[in-house]
C-alpha cells in the first residue's frame, strides 16, 4: 500500500483514527501501516495483544471456532479473532485484564470461583472461558446448568475442565443460592 493511495483514501472519507474503550480506558489509535497503528486487516485480538499489550487475550484457532480469544464487546461475548479492529470504533471492550477491581485488586467473583473449583489445567483457554461466563452471568444472573453449558459451548478446552467450569459458574448462579 503506497502512501499515496492511503492519502487519497483518507481524502475520500476513509477513517483515519479509531476510538476504543478497553477495560474502561480510552484509546485513540491511528489507522495506518506503521508500528502502533491499526492496519485495516488487524483483528481485534491482534490489536489487543500486540498493540495494547493485553496478552491475556489468547489466540488459538484464529477462525472463531475455539473461543480462546473471547472478549466482551458492549457486554457481549465475541470472538476477537473474527472482528476487524477498524470496525470496533466507539465500542466498549472488556478483556480478562479488565475484570479485576483496579483499586482493591480483588478478583471478579467468576475469577475467584474458577480458582476455587480448580477449573483450569493448562490454563490457556481460561481467560476466554471466564469472559464467556462473565457475559452469561451479566445477562442472566441465575443460569441453569443447561444454560451454562450452552454459554460455554464455544470455548474449547482440550484438558476437559468444562465439568468444573459448569460447577464454578453454577456456584455463582443466584438459582443455586
Amino acid at each position: 500500500m503506497t502512501e499515496e493511495t492511503i492519502e487519497s483514501q483518507r481524502a475520500a472519507g476513509y477513517n483515519e483514527k479509531i476510538d476504543l474503550v478497553v477495560n474502561a480506558r480510552h484509546y485513540v489509535l491511528n489507522i495506518g501501516y506503521g508500528p502502533g497503528e491499526v492496519d485495516p486487516a488487524h483483528t481485534l485480538s491482534f490489536t489487543l495483544r500486540d498493540t495494547l499489550g493485553l496478552k491475556g487475550v489468547k489466540v488459538s484457532c484464529d477462525r472463531g471456532a475455539c473461543g480462546a480469544c473471547t472478549v466482551l464487546l458492549d457486554g457481549k461475548a465475541v470472538p476477537s479473532c473474527m472482528l476487524l479492529t477498524i470496525e470496533c470504533g466507539g465500542k466498549e471492550i472488556t478483556t480478562i485484564e479488565g475484570l479485576r477491581d483496579e483499586k482493591t485488586g480483588s478478583l471478579d467473583p467468576v475469577q475467584q470461583s474458577f480458582i476455587d473449583h480448580g477449573v483450569f489445567q493448562c490454563g490457556f483457554c481460561t481467560p476466554g472461558m471466564i469472559m464467556s461466563a462473565k457475559a452469561l452471568l451479566d445477562e442472566n444472573p441465575s443460569p441453569t446448568h443447561e444454560e451454562i453449558r450452552e454459554a460455554l459451548s464455544g470455548n474449547f478446552c482440550r484438558c476437559i475442565s468444562h465439568y468444573q467450569a459448569v460447577e464454578a459458574v453454577s456456584a455463582l448462579s443466584s438459582r443455586g443460592r
Binding site: K55, Q121, C159, I160
Partner: protein, 773 residues
Amino acid sequence: MNTMAQTYRYIGKATPRRDGVRVVTGGALFVDDLDFDNLLYGKVLRSPHPHAIIKKIDSGRAQRLDGIKAVLTWKNIPDWKFGNPRIFRLLDRKVRYTGDAVALVAGESAEIADEASRLIEVDYEVLPAVFDDYEALRPGAPRLYDELPGNVLPPGDPFLGPTPLTQIVAGDVEKGLLEADFIVEGKCGYDNIPNPMPIESPRAVALWEEAGAGRDRVTVWVSNQAPYLMKLILSSIFGGRVEVRVIGGPCGGSFGSKIMSWRPICFAVALSKTTRRPVKVVYSKEEHLAAFVLRPASRLDIKVGMKRDGTVTAIAGDWLIGTGSHSQTTQAQVAVGCGEAMIAVRCKNWNVKPTIVCTNRAPSGIVRGFGGQELKCALFPILSRCMAELEIDPVDFIKKNFVKPGEGYLWRDGRWYDYRGIDFSQMMDKGAEVFGWKGKWKGWLKPTAVEGSKRTGVGVGVHGNADIGEDVSEAYVRLDGDGRALVYSCLAEHGTGQKNNAVKAAAEVLQIPLESVSITPGDTMITPFEFGPFGSRGTYAILTAVIKAAEEARKKLFELAAPLLGSDVSDLDTADGVIWVKANPEKRIRWQRVLFQRTILGHGRFEPDYSLSNCLMTFVEMEVDADTGKIGLLRVVNATDVGRIIDPQGLRGQLNGCLGTAGIDSAIFEETIVDPSTGRMLNANMIDYKWRTSCDLPPIENVVLETPFPTHRFHAAGVGEITTSAGPSAVLMAASNAVGVWLDSYPVTPDKVLKAVRNQELRIKKNEDISPL
C-alpha cells in the same frame, strides 16, 4: 472419590494451584506472550506436493522485500539432522508430505514474513506418493528415503538401552494355539490418526549469541513440558560447541506431542543463527494440525487362542505402525506398546512382530497413550471376537488377565520384569459395581436396552503402563535462613499441576507452610536434570526426586542443629521452621539460627524402576440411533487405584481428560482426514476436526481407590497419561453391542453405524427367509 483417613498435612488435600491468580487474570505468560526487544517473526513456506524434489528455488524476491532479514532453504540452512535413524533434515531437497517445510523466512512482522514466503519461487519435480501403510510396503512403492529401503524404519530405539524391545516373543505359539478352545484370526486398525490438539499450537522463541572463546550459545523459550529433555535433544542436534539453554514457562497443553517440537524450535534457532536476533516461530492452527506430529497409525493382523475360562493361550501376528513422513520416537512407542500389551493381557505364548513404515503423510510423534493405546485399541476388538465365541464377560476377562503380583512382562529395554505392584482386582470390582455392569451387560452383541430406534450398549476397556517409574529425575531443595525452601526442578506447567505437587511434596517432608516453599522456573541453566512429566511418571518418579532432595536437606539441617541442641541427628524433628528434640520438645531451635548466613542444598535423584504399573479401567454406556447412525456417550465410569491421592483436583482433571486429546473421542469423531489423491489434510481446522464441547459432555464418575504403593514415600503412583487409553476400544465394544453387529473401525461415525444396521437388517431378513417357519 474415596479417601482414606488423612494422615498428611498436605498430601491428598485440595490445594489451589499457585499459578491460579495468574491464570484467571490473564497474567500467565505463555511463550507468545513474552516481550522481546528486536524480535523477528519466522514463517514457513510449505510444500504443495506430497512427494517432490525441489529442482530450483529462488528466494531473491522474498529477500528483497522490505523488512525481511533472512530466507533459508535447504541450500543454506545448517545441516541439522534428527530422528531415529538420524536422517531427517530441518529442510531437505526433497519434500515428503503436503505441508512439509520448503523454506523459512524471518521478518520484522508476521505479515511481512508471510508475504515474503509467498514470493519464493519453487520448481518441483513431482514424485509418485504413497499414503497407505500397506501400499508403502509393496515392492515398487515410492521410496521416501534412500536410507530406508522398503520405507521400513529400523527397529529399536538405542535410547532404551543395548537390547531395546522390538517385538513380543515368548513361549511357543503353536503349542498355545493347540491348547485353545477357540482361535480367532482377525484384523483391526486404530488408524484414524486422531490429533492430541493442545489448544496452544507449537511455538518457540530462539536467540543465538556468541558466547566467546569460539563458542556459541542459544537460548530457547519453549512450549512443552520437558525443558531439560528438550535441551538434550537440541544439544544432540547442534553439537557440542553450542551451549543450549531451554526455558519452559506455562505450556498450553501438550499431551506428549509438543516434546516433538524440535522442528519448529530449530526453525527459530536457524533463523536466529542467521540474523543474531531473537526469532519467534508460532505455528498457525492449520500448521499445527497438518504439519506437526500426529498419533501413529496402528494395524494389527493376528491370531488369538483362548480357553473357555478366559485364559489366553497365544497371540501371534503382525503389527504395522504407520509413522508418516518421519519420526523420532516410534520405535520407543512400539517398545512401550508391546510391554503394555503384556501388562494388560496375560499370555504365555506371544509372537507379535511390529513393522514401522513411512508414508507421504504428516509425521507421527508422541501422543498420550505412547504406543500402548495404539496397540491396545486394535488388540481388544480382536480379543472380543474370541470372548464372544466363548461367552466370556469382558470384565471377568480383564480381571483375570491384567498383571498381578508374581507375574511379569517384558519392558521397553527388552528385559523381563517381575511385577511387584498392587493387585487391581478390587478396583475393577468397584468400578463394575459403580457402573452397574452386571445389570447392563446382556452378552456379546446384545443391547442393554432398545427403545424405538435408540439402542444402548455397554463396553469396557483397560490400560496399564509400567512407565510410572520410568527414566531419571533429579531435584534440589534449598533451605534458606529465612525459613523458606526452594525446589529446583525443571518443570514447565502443562496442565497437570505438577509444579504444585512438587511444592506440596517438599512442604510435606519439611513440615513447613506451603507458602514457605517456592519452585524455580523450568530453566535448564538453573535446575538439575529432569526427564520431564512423560507418561504417568510425575508422581512416582518426579516427586520422589523432590522428596529425596527435601529429605537430604532436612538431614543436613539436623546435622547442623544437632550440636547446637546437644543431641543426635536421629533424635530431631522439625515443623514450621523449628527443630526440636523428640524426647524433649522444650529443647528447640529455629531454622533461622541454624541457617545464619548459610544455605543448605539437598539433592534428590530418582533411578528408573519398571517393576510397577498403574491401571485404569473405563466403562462406557453408549446410545446408538439406528435410523441416523448417531452415537452418543450416555455415561462414563473410570476406575483406578492411585495408592494415595496427592492432588484431588488435578487427579479429577486428568481422569475427566479421558474424553479429548485423542482419547475416547478417537472412537467417536476424532480423526485426521486426508485426501486420497493429493495427500492434503482436509480437516486441519477446528471446525472440521471434531472436539468435544461443553454441550456434549456425558456424566463421568471416577472411582479412585487408595491401596498403598509400598515403595513410594507417600504410597502414591500417577495415572494421568493413561486415562485416554482404555476408552476407545470400550466405545467400539459398546456400539457393537448396541447395534448387534461388530463395529471395528475407528471412529464409529454415522456412516459406519448405518452400514452395520443395514447389514444386520439384511441378515435378519435372510434368516427369516430361510426359516422353516
